[in-house]
Amino acid sequence: MKISKKKIKDSIFLGPSLLGVLIFFIIPFFVVIYYSGIDNVIQCRPVGLRNYINVINNSAFQGAARNTFIFSLMAVPLSIIISLGMSLVLEGGIPMKSTIRTFFLSPLMVPTASVVLIWQVLFDYHGVINEAAKLFGQRPVDWLKSDYSQWVVVILFLWKNLGYNMVLFMSALASIPKDILEVSRLDGAGAWKQFWLIKLRYITPTIYFVGIISLINSFKVFREVYLLAGDYPYDSLYMLQHFMNNTFRNLDYQKLSSAAIIMCIVMIVIIGLLFVLENKLSEDLEG
């Protein structure tokens, strides 16, 4: 069997990247699977699915999964709807369009630590909002240690991500063929009908993309929550990444590995469902 020169050349160029992926992704992935199947890293006795059962039955994990799910369920649709709405408004040719766009993009440039500092100034027990509330005779609220806490983080998430999503939607809206919109207008379609029957169909791939990106970002909100409320925050702020981070610090790799694999499976299912949904909508558009 003769290997062509091209294949050898390709392999040489591909080699370093493959090696990197192998060392930093593929091998650790199998190590995680191995860790999830042993009792501890000292004795390394196989325990089958016991770690998975323990993690699923662990109420901290359940709470973290519930909180993360609720947060994503609130933050992702809101993020899509509001940024889409804003992009539609900006598309309408309002004055100071460029300034407003820059204004909404600016949070992307602010470092997380600074964002958290601003949020602390606003939502601390002695923060600006509570001081303002006191002026109107209201009792102060412990925003980060009460049932409002997740909303505080949702607002933070939206503030940080709306601008980016908005730009993506604006770009998608700009790429819709103008003649189709023109024809629909001549046929008597109003703004709502145009949006629902034409624009929405054309921007479906962007909605899907924004949805995936927002979902990933919603999992990454841990960084902000950690800086705001520490490693053991109020119950409703305790996210899956808290669980992972804390179990790692406690050197509990079995729990961490099992949780990571469970989370990975759930993510694959969610993204798979979104794929199916996107395909269905695309078929509809093409058909």
Partner: protein
């Protein structure tokens, strides 16, 4: 065109490949490319630099072993106090104290001994042999001190000599020796007096200029004592100074960065010709043992320095320290080693001092030569590692004793206290699979609590080893200790000593019976409105004091439940809230601790309760005291506290049997019986504990059954403004301690994370921002998350 494009691609590919190869060659190849000239390239250096953790301790141990032998210098008299090398010659300063005939040693204060020191300077070959006497001070005609020995560039030995003139004060001279007499080379009296700050070190550079360092200044004086260089370093202190092999001036600066609460250490290198700073390097010299520990370098290292644990060589160009000799691996007591003189990287001469000897008349000093041992000859020795957060001298002595008692195994310490963040480094080593064979279990293992270490399988169950061993048995232990360390028939930690962890109060007020609950304590506190509970009356401190002993009452680890919303915890918060927000340390005119008890202003003493504290309590409470314990739901609130000598075997150790051989010594009657007089805490063996108690009660001098000399306790010491008179313990005192011991309910353990959550949340209640009912649910909520996570 196509051909041209192909050629271009090939050329770019070749160029890129070349760059990659060159880059890869350059990477991590500092050693071979450094040096500049061939003479400064080290011939053979250890593969690892400093701070390698467990991996270094295990794999490199054989590389750091030096073997010692007496360094024979015949004809030298006295105690060696300085040694310098020049070429093939050694120059040594010896001193002998001649006691006056009318001097009296009253046994109590040896400071009253009168006499005169004779200084002798010898030269000898670096191989040893006959010493040539260069100078000997005449006790009748020599009124002063020789404080330093230096060698000039031309090989002339110079000394710094200060003589006392009864009429005109103290004079400082740099002298050379000629025909057995001192000849003043320069008078530096003015130079010394003109400096408002003390000069810490003096040495001559290669141009024969005098280099002096003060606490934070470097000064250079020419032959006429004219100041030619003055460098101010600001808010730092100079810990080490000296010359590099090439003659550059070296100054090691230490400072403290308050913002990050971390010490910083820098090495400044000043050019030997211009005295301008040419290099500033981050260099960790923690543990370096004082100004004299920087030693001139050679062709292998720019300079050498020593700590109490090791000797290092430093290469300035690489900005790297290389460990050369590990004292423990070499069976050397680093604390006894002084005046080290490096002959080369593989060999050094030093004085081995017996500090126990009379220091006024001169400590006993044995001149030793240490040579590097070929690591291959140690191949048959198995190295065991003992990881500890705090290595005290007694532990080191024990290890040396074990190492020298057999040749099969060698215990090597991994001292995490030398790391910037000891707990994090230990966790990182564990996470990376770099396990030590034995772990010090001092309130857990760094950030890993004892329970976590056990649940993660980090510690080996020693019960089977104890069962099989004919020398030790769990039944030998004090019953309370046995109950504390045996958990479901398993033993993960053992210790030769223990203390009680409890609360002590006034017997007539808290009741004779040991143990109480939260309501009892609250009632007692409320009945004393003018008194404070503990040493500190700060609200946070009171809460901390309670939580140290009570936190396990509110946490059910097994079922993942906690009870911080219970009335008992609310009682604790309410009691703490009666304190102040003022920090105790900043209270002016604070009433002394003994007075607080005597005047009834303080109710309880909490924390570690060693037996020796009974005499303090006796006087502070006027004999009316009892070990009551922390309040608890089951009325049992005293614990066994295991200190830094508690240890466990790592379950991952490949030499568990060898590790057991070392660990078991601590449970033997032989060890505890011989060592208990030197221990601050109580021995854990019942037989030794009984002898220990008898020794405390002894009213007559004698010898115990282990051959230890027993003296009746006497004398006194100060406890703030109270004079504590020491006398033999009474049966009553012993019985109070024994009763406290009998009422313990297990090993002391606390959880810093739970305490942190409590402190964070209680702050709002203590500040008056929230009510107790607002704070308690948040605490309950947060702690429950933590507990469930670790369930």
């Amino acid at each position: 065109m196509i051909r041209k494009s192909g050629l271009l691609k090939k050329t770019i590919t070749l160029a890129l490949t070349g760059i990659m190869i060159i880059g890869a060659t350059g990477c991590g190849n500092i050693g071979s490319s450094s040096g500049g000239t061939s003479s400064s390239v080290p011939t053979e250096r250890p593969k690892e630099s400093t701070h390698g953790g467990v991996a270094e301790a295990k794999n490199m141990a054989a590389s750091f072993v030096y073997s010692g032998s007496n360094f024979q210098v015949s004809g030298a008299e006295g105690t060696m106090s300085s040694i310098k090398k020049y070429g093939d010659k050694l120059y040594m300063l010896f001193q002998t104290f001649i006691e006056d005939e009318n001097s009296k040693d009253n046994g109590d204060g040896e400071q009253f001994v009168n006499g005169q020191t004779i200084y002798r300077i010898y030269s000898a070959s670096k191989e040893g042999g006959d010493a040539e006497l260069l100078f000997e001070s005449d006790p009748m005609d020599f009124d002063g001190y020789i404080t330093g020995l230096n060698i000039r560039q031309d090989g002339t030995p110079l000394i710094v000599y200060n003589n006392v003139d009864k009429n005109e004060g103290v004079f400082y001279h740099v002298c050379s020796i000629s025909d057995g007499k001192l000849e003043t080379e320069r008078n530096i009296t003015e130079l010394v007096y003109n400096n408002e700050i003390n000069i810490n070190s003096l040495f001559l550079d290669d141009k024969n200029n005098l280099v002096a360092t003060t606490e934070n200044e470097l000064k250079v004086y020419d032959a006429d004592n004219k100041e030619i260089v003055s460098k101010q370093f600001g808010d730092v202190w100079i810990t080490l100074s000296g010359k590099s092999a090439s003659g550059d001036i070296l100054v090691n600066l230490q400072s403290y960065n308050e913002a990050v609460m971390e010490g910083c250490s820098k090495l400044c290198v000043f050019d030997k010709d211009t005295y301008e700073m040419k290099n500033e390097i981050d260099m960790d010299t923690s543990g370096a043992s004082g100004g004299g520990s920087l030693m001139n370098g050679d062709e292998t290292y720019d300079f050498y320095y020593s700590t109490t644990n090791a000797i290092y060589g430093y290469v300035i160009e690489e900005e790297k320290s290389y460990k050369l000799a590990d004292f423990l691996s070499s069976d050397i007591n680093g604390d006894s080693l002084g005046n080290i003189c490096m002959l080369n990287a593989d060999s050094f001469i030093a004085g081995l001092y017996d500090w126990e000897e009379d220091t006024i008349r001169g400590s006993k000093c044995t001149l030793m030569k240490y040579d590097k041992v070929d690591p291959s000859t140690l191949a048959n020795t198995t190295v065991l590692t003992y990881a500890m957060m705090y290595a005290d001298n007694r532990l080191k002595d024990d290890i040396r004793e074990f190492n020298s008692s057999q040749s099969e195994y060698k215990i090597n310490i991994v001292d995490y206290s030398e790391e910037n963040d000891p707990a994090e480094k230990l966790s990182a080593d564990v996470a990376a699979g770099n396990f030590a064979d034995i772990y010090q279990v001092y309130e857990g293992m760094g950030d890993i609590s004892l329970n976590q270490a056990i649940s993660k399988g980090l510690l080996e169950d020693m019960a089977p080893y104890i069962e099989k061993d004919a020398d030790v048995s769990l039944d030998d232990l004090v019953p309370a200790i046995k109950n504390a360390i045996v958990n479901d028939g398993k033993v993960y930690v053992i210790a030769p000593t223990f203390e009680l962890y409890s609360m002590v109060g006034k017997k007539s007020e808290v009741g004779e019976k040991s143990g109480w609950n939260y309501a009892d304590l609250k009632k007692y506190y409320e009945s004393k409105p003018d008194s404070q509970l503990f040493y500190s009356n700060n609200k946070n401190d009171i809460l901390d004091a309670f939580m140290e002993g009570c936190v396990n009452d509110f946490v059910d680890w097994e079922n993942g439940e906690c009870y911080f919303d219970s009335q008992e915890f609310k009682d604790i918060l309410e009691m703490a809230n009666k304190g102040t927000n003022e920090e105790t340390d900043y209270i002016e005119n604070r009433v002394s601790e003994p007075k607080q008890f005597l005047e009834g202003k303080r109710l309880l003493c909490n924390g570690y309760i060693p037996l020796d504290d009974m005499e303090r309590f006796d006087q502070a409470f006027k004999g009316d005291y009892t070990i009551k314990g922390y309040p608890s739901k089951d009325n049992k609130g005293s614990y066994i506290y295991l200190s830094y000598d508690a240890m466990g075997i790592c379950a991952k150790s490949e030499n568990k049997d060898a590790a057991w051989k070392f660990v078991k010594r601590y449970l033997t009657e032989d060890y505890q019986g011989k060592k208990y007089p030197d221990l601050y805490c109580c021995p854990t063996r019942q037989d030794v504990f009984d002898v220990y108690l008898e020794s405390k009660k002894a009213t007559k001098a004698g010898t115990d059954k282990y051959g230890n000399e027993i003296k009746p306790i006497e004398g006194s010491y100060g406890w703030e403004d109270m004079e504590i008179t020491r006398k033999p313990y009474t049966d009553e005192q012993i019985n109070i301690f024994k009763e406290g011991l009998n009422n313990t309910k297990g090993l002391f353990s606390n959880d810093k994370k739970v305490e942190k959550i409590l402190t964070e949340e209680a702050a709002a209640y203590f500040a008056g921002d929230k009510t107790i009912d607002e704070v308690v649910p948040i605490i309950q909520d947060r702690v429950k998350t933590y507990i469930n996570e670790n369930k």
